[in-house]
Subunit: 129 residues, 2 copies
DNA sequence: CTTTGTTAGGAATATTTACTATTTAGGAAA
DNA sequence: TTTCCTAAATAGTAAATATTCCTAACAAAG
C-alpha cells in the first residue's frame, strides 16, 4: 500500500501505518510518538510529523485541528466530528442523509475541496456531572 | 459594554474592543498585538490573550482554529467560514436557509452548544493561478 | 483609601518546522 | 544474486511559533 502511493517502505512508516491505519481512529503526533517509542526507541518526532504529513498527502489520513493541536483521522470517508469540551473525546459522525448538496452561493467561484464540521459540547458522561 | 459584562474598564481593553468589536472581522492574538503596539507600546501578549479570552467568555467574540492558530471573530452570529488553502483568506458565510435543524442522532444525549463548519479550497483569486 | 482585579514582563511549555550529517531503500549494473 | 549508486528517509538538534504560567507592580471602582 505504501509503495502504491509512491512512498518507500521503511520500518518507521510500517510502524506508523500498522498503528493507525487498520481501524478508524484519531491520533495526534505526540500520541503516535509516545506509542511507537516503546517498540522503536530511536524514532523521532520529526519522522512522525513527516510520515503523518505524507500519509495525509497520499489520502491515507485526514487532518483537522481542535483544542490547539492537529488530529489525524484514519477514517478518510467524508464525515463530521463531535468533541467534548470537557473530556476532549472526539467521535466520528456519519454523514447526514441529505448531506452537503448545497454549497453556499458565496463560494460559487471557489474551488472547494473540503468541508468539515465540528460539533462541540458535553458528551453524555460529562453532561451528567 | 465592558461593565455590563462584569469587566473592569482599562485602556488596554478599550483599545482591543475599539479595534475589533465595531465591525465583523477575523483577528489572531498576534495581529491585535502588532496593531496595538503602535498606540500602546507597552502592551503585552499576555494581556491580549487574557482580553480576547474574556471577550470570548462574555460572548463578545467567537473563536475557532485554522492553520495552526486561534482566530477570533467579532461576528458572533451563527455562521460558517471558508478559508483559502493558498492565501489563507477567511470569509464569513451566512447560514444556509434550512440550516442545522437536524442534529445527528449520535448526539442525542450530548449537550451541544456549538456547531462550526469550515469550507477549504482555493478562493477565486488563487484559483486563477 | 482599600481591595481586588489587571498588567507587563519574563520564563515555561507545547507544537511544529528547519537544518544537517548519517543511513537506508530500491533500482541498475555486474 | 550480489554489488553499487543515488535519491530519499531518519535522528538529533536547533529554531520558530503559539500559548500559558508566574509574580511583582499597578490601577479601577467602590
Amino acid at each position: 500500500m505504501l509503495r502504491s502511493h509512491g512512498l518507500r517502505v521503511t520500518p518507521q512508516r510500517l510502524a506508523v501505518a500498522a498503528l493507525i491505519l487498520p481501524k478508524p481512529m484519531h491520533v495526534t503526533a505526540r500520541m503516535v510518538y509516545q506509542t511507537l517509542r516503546e517498540t522503536h526507541p530511536a524514532i523521532s518526532m520529526n519522522t512522525i510529523y513527516l510520515t503523518l504529513g505524507q500519509f495525509e498527502s497520499s489520502g491515507l489520513l485526514q487532518r483537522f485541528e481542535i483544542n490547539g493541536t492537529t488530529v489525524f483521522d484514519s477514517n478518510t470517508a467524508a464525515h463530521d466530528h463531535a468533541c467534548c469540551s470537557r473530556c476532549k473525546a472526539i467521535i466520528d459522525l456519519s454523514p447526514q442523509q441529505q448531506e452537503s448538496p448545497q454549497q453556499p452561493h458565496a463560494l460559487a467561484r471557489w474551488h472547494i475541496d473540503r468541508e468539515q464540521r465540528i460539533w462541540s459540547g458535553l458528551c453524555p458522561n460529562c453532561a451528567k456531572q
